[in-house]
């Protein structure tokens, strides 16, 4: 079976379930995400994205971590606010750093939107749930980023991970598969650490401060998670690992 097809179907099912569950738990009107605090938080979040991206460059770490602010807004304000933060973040980066950031704005928007969805679905309440959020964010970023990389940039972009793509192309894979598997190697680590760092930041904020944003209940920490939840989580992690392993074996083997 064609791995690209499998991956698309699996991802679509995962996101379908996520959206259905999030809708079940919470209404998602665009207006609900925005109050004055949201509008003031967004510029700060964008600045956090860009400046932390810079600090990471100073530390020479092998990740980007340039969407911490986006995930933060998605979690405490909601998916639409997160998507807006992501999109504007890339537009601002295009204005101040390098116009080459513009074409990637849908990826950043997807990151914020999925972070918001996961938070609405109750996946931003303790560290392992946040790790799952991070994985789902990575999945979304891959799904949106791959077509942009392939159809706009011809598959090999100006980023360093292109060397992996080039290597995979030489092993005889077609272009879409090569780009997909490159992203699968790069994105999850980056996005899971991004989600965990945003979670750590939220934990450091006072309840009184968080209460002024539209969705403070999304980030309330659960004390002593119930046993059933833990089992569900373990099952989810096992399934995710299996999917990842299946995909990787399919791509690399």
């Amino acid at each position: 079976m064609d791995p690209t097809l499998v991956i698309t179907i699996v991802t679509a099912v995962v996101f379908g379930l996520l959206i259905a569950y999030a809708l079940l738990v919470k209404k998602m009107n665009i207006g609900d995400d925005f109050n004055t605090m949201t509008w003031v938080l967004i510029p700060v979040a964008i600045a956090i994205n860009l400046v932390i991206g810079q600090v990471v460059l100073v530390l020479k770490l092998p990740v980007f971590l340039d969407s911490i602010g986006t995930v933060l807004v998605g979690a405490i304000c909601g998916p639409w606010a997160g998507a807006l933060t992501g999109a504007l973040s890339n537009i601002i980066a295009g204005i101040v750093i390098d116009p080459g950031w513009f074409p990637w704005f849908p990826v950043a928007a997807a990151i914020g939107f999925i972070a918001g969805l996961c938070a609405n679905a109750g996946l931003f309440k303790n560290w392992w749930k946040v790790a799952i959020t991070g994985f789902l964010i990575a999945l979304g970023a891959i799904l949106v980023g791959t077509p942009i990389a392939v159809y706009l940039f011809g598959g090999i972009t100006a980023s360093g991970s292109s060397f992996i793509t080039a290597f995979l192309l030489q092993t005889g894979q077609d272009l879409v598969n090569a780009v997909l598997s490159t992203n699968f190697l790069v994105e999850p680590i980056d996005k899971i650490s991004t989600a965990l760092l945003s979670f750590a930041i939220v934990q450091g904020l006072s309840k009184r401060f968080l209460a002024r944003f539209p969705r403070p209940e999304n980030v309330e920490v659960e004390e002593g998670a119930s046993r059933t939840q833990l089992f569900i989580a373990i099952a989810a992690v096992v399934i995710l690992v299996l999917i990842a392993a299946f995909v990787l074996v399919n791509f690399l083997g």
């Binding site: 925005f34 004055t36 605090m37 509008w39 003031v40 938080l41 967004i42 510029p43 700060v44 964008i46 600045a47 956090i48 860009l50 400046v51 932390i52 810079q54 600090v55 990471v56 100073v58 530390l59 020479k60 770490l61 911490i68 504007l88 537009i91 601002i92 295009g94 204005i95 101040v96 750093i97 390098d98 116009p99 080459g100 513009f102 074409p103 706009l152 940039f153 011809g154 598959g155 090999i156 972009t157 100006a158 292109s162 793509t165 080039a166 192309l169 030489q170 005889g172 077609d174 272009l175 760092l197 750590a200 930041i201 450091g204 904020l205 401060f209 002024r212």
Partner: protein, 258 residues
């Protein structure tokens, strides 16, 4: 990251006087034409009008600077990588180690790369000749919610402040003996003491700012008046509609010819 708010250069030129929306339409016309036209070689050809535009706007030196520092390195890297590694093609030009460089892949890479060049250069010229707040107030006048303008403009003001703060924090933590250069584990560990103060420091200001702009009628739904008039001439309108027409022709002829 440079210590400036945007790429904008203040000059006197036709391009500077043009309505911001017209300039935005020019950018999108370039992008659509280079990506969607039925003639592949239009994309490299479009590089000439883009470069001419930088002379029209009297920003050719700044444009050259951006092109040399930001656009060309990325574009050349992509061109070389794609020519060597993309599979396919029959006419072998030459071989590097085990890789055959074929005429077809070189051609394909050249066209992809010139599209990217046209796209990013067009954006760069827009940014060089249009002040962000001018663009935002024009778009707001045309119905974009004012909150968007607030977000863009205030972000541009916050970023330099925050960069300064980040520099201070890095210097302060280093002077306390924080290790930011040695082993991987130490550098990961250094992330928290650097990021923590930066993020919490800036989030504390959020609440005060919210109260301040609330007091200035931020959420008011009344139409707001602007201090600056941004000209929108008949020439602007004609230009915009002819660009739209041009893009439609390109798309229709592509569907027609395929």
């Amino acid at each position: 990251m440079p210590e400036r708010l945007s790429f904008y250069v203040k000059r006197e030129s036709i391009l500077h006087r043009l309505n911001p929306l017209s300039k935005l339409s020019i950018v999108f016309a370039f992008i659509f034409l280079s990506f969607l036209s039925p003639f592949r070689w239009l994309a490299p050809a479009l590089a000439i009008p883009v470069i001419t535009l930088s002379f029209v706007g009297n920003v050719q030196r700044q444009f050259l600077n951006i092109a040399l520092k930001l656009i060309l390195p990325a574009v050349l890297f992509m061109f070389v990588m794609q020519s060597i590694f993309l599979p396919g093609g029959e006419t072998v030009l030459f071989a590097i180690w085990i890789f055959d460089v074929t005429l077809e892949t070189v051609e394909k890479a050249f066209i992809t790369v010139s599209r990217i060049f046209v796209m990013i250069s067009a954006f760069a010229i827009l940014l060089l000749t249009t002040h962000p707040s001018e663009l935002m107030s024009d778009l707001t006048r045309r119905g974009l919610p004012g909150q968007f303008a607030y977000v863009i403009i205030s972000t541009l003001q916050i970023i330099p402040q925050m960069q300064a703060k980040a520099q201070t924090i890095i210097a302060a933590q280093r002077s306390r003996g924080l290790d930011t250069e040695s082993s991987f584990k130490k550098r990961v560990g250094a992330l928290v003491p650097l990021v923590g103060p930066l993020v919490f420091g800036s989030l504390v200001e959020v609440e005060e700012r919210a109260i301040a702009i609330e007091a200035r009628g931020f959420t008011s739904t009344r139409t707001k008046t602007s201090l600056y008039e941004i000209p929108d001439t008949i020439f602007d309108k004609t230009l915009r509609w002819s660009l739209v027409l041009l893009v439609i022709i390109a798309i229709v002829s592509r569907i027609w010819l395929s």
